[in-house]
């Protein structure tokens, strides 16, 4: 048994709730006494007017893991939020620089420029100083979301609301099945990846790199077993993506090496109807860009056909020398697994817990298509060593392998059609270089938050002055 007390952790860190709906409320503390009182009750099981903060496992085990409450409620605080609640300046200074500066200030590292620049972010992200807390409500009905929303709204000034939902079959926009790979903190069957130490997400616990400890903010009760979250509102340009798949498939169809991309007698369906060769090549491009076929099957395990995901292991694979999963694919960039990388000591050190739901459509006048996308949470004990490290050297830039250095993630990278390129792998070990695709995912907003432990929330509630 681990020595982690699961009753003292917020419930959205080590596992996903798997509800159908989410609402993220962006909140400002305008009356700190009211907010402290709210947090005090919320962290002690809630009350008539205050929702309970959901823990990883309730101490009295009143709800077994498989029996859900009607809704789950969790909070994350920005640096401005900790200050607004009255955390002492000396303690505030012990939080890591990237968190103190906030996501908008880190735009260069995160590839947020042009239409993704913080200056262009939608409300309320263009006023980051007003965002003190992000409260996340998960439920299966809007009525449940509204119930908690009403309670929260009494204690805070609400600066924004973002509603998300799970698409059927764990899909995200662009048509991929998501929520398959996650760090694993205990042994799971069919897993070839090493178990991730709790320090991947909990401050104060050992990390993957022996001896390397992330700083725990003071006082101990505030920092211990807390973690950080990069909350991102990511717009997905679905039409541009599908149009690009058309274009790339046509290019590969007419390419002299077409048979090396996909055998000429290949035959598979999209799950419902058989695909023609152009349709199959579209799927190959989509699969190579991500690292999984859109139905979730790892591309490297079956590069010549898209099998039924129920028939193959989804996480039991590695990236050996001969893997046809491109080094430049989204998944290999964000988790190179055991594959060779330039930064030899970095395999498995930049792991991220991902919790995301889709959002939209949002109709804005003058916009060519309704906005849809992903409300993404990227959680880890160090924003700098995990989220930012992935974003600036691996996802964009591609320093981990000389064959992709200078190119960005084809699926979500900060691309521009003038300079983008991506190498499709061939059956003989060669590649075909695709060029000229635009940026398919742009940033609409985001904040860095600190996800405190339950004792830390009670500490915040007790602050004076």
């Amino acid at each position: 048994m681990s020595r982690i007390d699961h009753s003292q952790l917020q419930g959205n860190i080590l596992r996903g709730y798997r509800f159908g709906l989410v609402r993220h409320m962006l909140l400002e503390v305008t009356d700190r006494a009211t907010v402290r009182a709210f947090l005090g009750v919320a962290a002690q099981g809630g009350g008539a007017e205050v929702p309970a903060i959901t823990v990883d496992q309730p101490p009295d085990k009143t709800w077994p893991r498989d029996q859900k409450p009607a809704s789950c409620f969790n909070i994350g605080l920005t640096f401005a939020g900790l200050r607004a609640l009255g955390v002492a300046p000396g303690d505030l200074a012990t939080f890591p620089t990237e968190f103190r500066e906030g996501m908008a200030a880190r735009a260069t590292k995160l590839g947020d420029f042009g239409e993704s620049a913080p200056r262009a972010w939608s409300q309320p992200f263009n006023r980051p100083e007003q965002i003190h807390l992000v409260a996340s409500i998960h439920a299966d009905s809007t009525a449940e979301l509204d119930k908690v929303d009403t309670q929260v709204s009494r204690a805070f000034a609400v600066r924004g609301r973002l509603d998300g939902y799970a698409l059927a079959q764990d899909k995200v926009y662009f048509g991929y099945t998501d929520s398959i790979s996650q760090p694993k903190f205990s042994h799971v069957k069919d897993e070839v990846e090493p178990i991730d130490p709790y320090g991947t997400v909990l401050l104060g616990e050992p990390t993957r790199q022996e001896g390397l400890k992330f700083g725990v903010p003071t006082p101990q009760v505030l920092g211990h077993h807390g973690t950080f979250n990069a909350f991102r509102v990511l717009r997905q340009h679905v039409t541009a993506f599908e149009q690009y798949l058309d274009r790339a498939a046509t290019e590969l169809l007419n390419h002299p090496d077409s048979a090396l991309v996909l055998p000429l007698d290949a035959q598979f369906s999209d799950g419902e109807k058989p695909l023609d060769r152009h349709g199959m090549l579209r799927e190959v491009v989509a699969a190579q860009m991500c690292g999984r076929w859109r139905n979730g099957v790892p591309y490297g395990s079956s590069p010549d056909t898209m099998p039924d995901p129920a028939s193959v292991p989804l996480t039991e694979y590695d990236y050996g020398r001969g893997s046809r999963c491109p080094v430049g694919s989204h998944m290999r960039r964000t988790n190179p697994r055991g594959g060779a990388i330039v930064q030899r000591i970095a395999n498995y050190t930049r792991r991220l817990v991902r919790r995301g739901m889709s959002y939209g459509p949002i109709h804005t006048e003058g916009d060519s298509e309704p906005e849809v996308g992903l409300l993404g949470n990227f959680i880890g004990a160090s924003l700098g060593a995990q989220f930012e490290a992935v974003m600036c050297d691996w996802l964009n830039l591609g320093l981990q392998d000389p064959d992709i250095t200078g190119a960005n993630d084809p699926l979500i990278g900060a691309n521009s059609s003038e300079t983008s390129w991506f190498d499709v792998t061939l059956r003989n070990g060669g590649t075909i270089r695709l060029r000229g695709f635009p940026r398919f995912v742009s940033t609409r907003g985001g904040v860095y938050t600190f996800l405190p432990s339950m004792p830390a929330i009670r500490y915040l509630a007790r602050l004076k002055g």
Binding site: T97, A107, G215, Q343, R344, G384, N396, L397, L399, T405
Partner: protein, 238 residues
């Protein structure tokens, strides 16, 4: 700042060239303007670019002040390097992104100069994860170093400290000064008109806030390939 350039502005603008003014300006005029029009400290490091393909190389010009700048202290620092230098350089192999590195003693400072690829924080973090325990011997000779030993347990502070002592992270203000100043104050570049005649004064005032600056540069004889790309090209494995 949208003031009209008056006699006081002209007075300050002429400062660099008027020898007899220098005493007065140093002790009276510049302090007055610093009080009247304080400048934000500018951030350093690479600028945003649409695609990072232009050059992945960065330099580190790390100037670490010695606790004891006397010949005895300098000798101790020299020993801390020479006793560990093989391990440090072997460690750089494992960091994987380093082109070259050297140490030197410069007055009362021990300096590490290197060329590496990609993100600054990742470089320093990987460096410490690989050879932090060896580098601790060097940090013990450096002013303020004790508080960061062992570096593996003070990784965030160490990164911030290096950033503050790395001249490559100094702002590059010889170009585009007005826009940089505006951005540091949260004003969109280009949204305020600036009087070019005020440039010398702005530069003097900015140098008060940023004692160390970079004066442009960036000459390259070839595109900035990564160390791994070069190794791969010459077939020595990456």
């Amino acid at each position: 700042m949208q003031r009209k350039a008056g006699w006081l502005d002209k007075f300050v603008d002429d400062l660099p060239s008027q020898g007899w003014f220098q005493f007065l300006s140093r002790h009276l005029v510049v302090p007055y303007w610093i009080w009247r029009d304080p400048k934000p400290v500018l951030p350093g490091g690479p600028r945003p670019s649409v695609q990072p393909s232009e050059s992945v190389q960065r330099m580190m010009n790390l100037i670490m002040p010695l606790k004891d700048p006397s010949p005895i202290g300098r000798a101790r620092a020299a020993l801390a390097i020479s006793q560990n230098v093989d391990e440090i350089f072997a460690g750089l192999d494992n960091v994987g992104t380093v082109h070259n590195a050297r140490f030197l003693l410069l007055d009362g400072n021990i300096c590490m100069l290197s060329v590496y690829d990609g993100d600054f924080s990742n470089y320093i973090r990987d460096f410490i994860a690989t050879i932090g325990s060896v580098f601790d011997a060097v940090m013990k000779e450096v002013e303020g170093g004790d508080a960061m030993v062992p570096t593996t347990e003070h990784i965030e502070e160490f990164i911030d400290w290096v950033c503050a002592h790395d001249l490559f992270q100094a702002p590059d203000i010889a170009t585009d000064l007005f826009n940089l100043q505006d951005a540091a104050k949260g004003i969109a570049p280009g949204s305020l008109p600036h009087d070019l005649r005020l440039l010398p004064r702005e530069l003097i005032l900015q140098l008060h806030s940023n004692p160390n600056i970079s004066l442009g540069g960036g000459y390259r004889a070839y595109p900035g390939y990564s160390a791994a790309q070069v190794r791969q090209k010459f077939g020595v494995g990456w």
